[in-house]
């Protein structure tokens, strides 16, 4: 291993950030309390003062902070996003995670020395797309979509250099090309792309029905969990539907990504950073997952064997998958 691997961890609150740093995160990503970031949930995220304190805490403990402004600017109302970029730089961000090409252009011109990462929301999944962002805007790292195989990640990483690659290794799984998925917009009028929320809680309801839990999004019944059956997130892509007379999780099973067994291979092909999903999760999740992955990364460096059963209890549907990295889906 020539470059030290970076463990990139989520934080939805200042307490979550301190937990991630204390648990061994090399860097933490977070966002402001508005629609500029793709986890715009109630009670979550940082105001300006909290962000400055968070950056100071991370730096004092040897960690970095990346601020996500990874939704797409609204026509006629781009100031919110540009102000977010300026405030993130002023707060001491080590990197900005951006998706909108216009905002990338603004950030590069307004802050020429600022390190920029390309969000997974930009869906840059070809050598040409990555090269464009790298050569035109000096993007230092691209977060790759969760729809690629290990071999595809390998080829992209080779083409992207000197731009680094970052891949998701644990947490919620999007089967769709992120930044382009319209399912949430269709059902609720809101989306992670524009307003920072997928299947927003304002449009989600649960009700008990004869011992079963029924989940609805935007008035559509998407799932019925029978008594004792593990539940999942109330997103349309993880609902159970009838098609051709058969009921199934048509788009995606409610399972979490867990690519821990692939870490050595991903490191070997040159991936720089391993990302844990879950800014909406609690301190218990952050602490457990970050500690576990940090130990694995340290163990890899020391040539030790790894065993990670403890992560299963935190996974959606209580099950996990290596996702698209090994194409075993239906």
């Amino acid at each position: 291993m020539t470059t030290p691997l970076e463990l990139v961890c989520p934080a939805g609150t200042p307490a979550g950030l301190r937990t991630a740093v204390d648990a061994g995160a090399h860097s933490v990503y977070c966002g402001f309390r508005d629609e500029t970031n793709a986890r715009n949930f109630p009670g979550l995220n940082f105001d300006r003062a909290e962000m400055r304190e968070a950056a100071a805490y991370a730096h004092a403990h040897g960690a970095k902070i990346a601020i996500a402004l990874n939704t797409f600017m609204r026509a006629g109302s781009t100031d919110l996003w540009k102000r977010g970029v300026d405030d993130a730089v002023a707060a001491g961000a080590d990197a900005l995670i951006l998706a909108d090409v216009g905002l990338v252009d603004y950030a590069r011109k307004a802050h020429p020395k600022q390190r920029l990462h390309l969000s997974v929301q930009a869906a840059a999944a070809t050598p040409e797309a990555i090269a464009f962002y790298r050569d035109r805007f000096g993007i230092a790292r691209v977060v790759l979509p969760r729809v690629l195989t290990v071999e595809e990640v390998s080829r992209l990483t080779a083409h992207a250099a000197p731009c680094e690659t970052e891949v998701f290794v644990f947490g919620g799984l999007c089967v769709m090309a992120e930044g382009r998925c319209m399912l949430s917009s269709y059902a609720t009028g809101k989306s992670p792309n524009m307003t920072g929320v997928c299947s927003p809680p304002s449009h989600v309801t649960y009700r008990e029905d004869r011992d079963a839990l029924v989940a609805c999004v935007g008035g559509f019944t998407i799932e019925r969990f029978e008594r004792g059956e593990p539940a999942g997130y109330p997103t349309l892509c993880k609902g159970r539907f009838v098609a051709d007379g058969t009921m199934s999780h048509l788009f995606e099973d409610p399972v979490s990504l867990n690519a821990v067994t692939l870490l050595p291979r991903l490191a070997e092909i040159g991936v720089t950073a391993f990302k844990i999903e879950g800014r909406q999760r609690g301190r218990a999740y952050i602490s457990t997952v970050v500690r576990a992955f940090r130990k694995v990364i340290d163990a890899m460096a020391a040539g030790k064997k790894i065993d990670l059963d403890e992560l299963r209890g935190l996974t959606e549907g209580q099950r996990d998958t290596v996702g698209a990295y090994k194409k075993t889906w239906r």
Binding site: R283, A284, S287, K305
Partner: protein, 182 residues
């Protein structure tokens, strides 16, 4: 049921006058709010909503209305007229307050259920997460005593949770953080 108090405890708790429970609960809540003044600000527009926090193994329900000037709390036998309800065994609810449990994981495993205004529930969960509460803060202990009290409380709660077959501890206050490396 996993994590449920034995019926004898629940029955004994049921014999306590609701007013005495309410006085104690209000005192603890007041300590927590004094230590975490930004709690209501994090709730934002969901401040003022009424939450029924239902320990399903106990014969009472806590009804909270967090507000900027202070949180109103009452203890009732049966909650009506709430915006959202959060239900789980008592030890599980306590474990969410001190960060032992992750709310999403409890929801996935069906140890916790919610109904009503989902958005308000999320706001409350996230505000509690950020409050980073522990027993000594809730009890109003001085700073110097907090370390030893919290360490002892973690051990006691962990044993109680194991005794009740509650969901496994995880997180900053859990003890099962190790990864087996051989």
């Amino acid at each position: 049921m996993r994590g449920h108090l034995p019926p004898i405890f629940a029955n004994a708790a049921g014999m306590l006058p609701l007013l005495s429970l309410e006085v104690v609960a209000r005192h603890l809540m007041s300590n927590a709010m004094a230590a975490r003044p930004s709690f209501a600000a994090r709730l934002g527009e969901y401040s003022g909503r009424t939450f029924a926090v239902d320990p399903v193994d106990c014969p009472f329900v806590f009804v909270l209305t967090p507000q900027d000037g202070g949180t109103h709390l009452s203890v009732v036998r049966e909650a009506v007229g709430f915006d959202a309800r959060i239900a789980a065994p008592l030890v599980v609810l306590l474990g969410m307050i001190d960060g032992t449990y992750d709310g999403d994981a409890l929801f996935f495993s069906r140890d916790l259920s919610i109904e009503g205004d989902t958005e308000a529930v999320l706001a409350l969960r996230n505000a509690i997460e950020n409050a980073d509460l522990d027993l000594s803060t809730v009890l109003g202990f001085p700073q110097a005593m907090q370390g030893p009290v919290n360490r002892a409380a973690r051990q006691v709660f962990m044993r109680v949770r194991r005794l009740l077959d509650a969901p496994e501890d995880s997180g900053p206050n859990g003890v099962a953080n190790g990864v087996n490396l051989s």
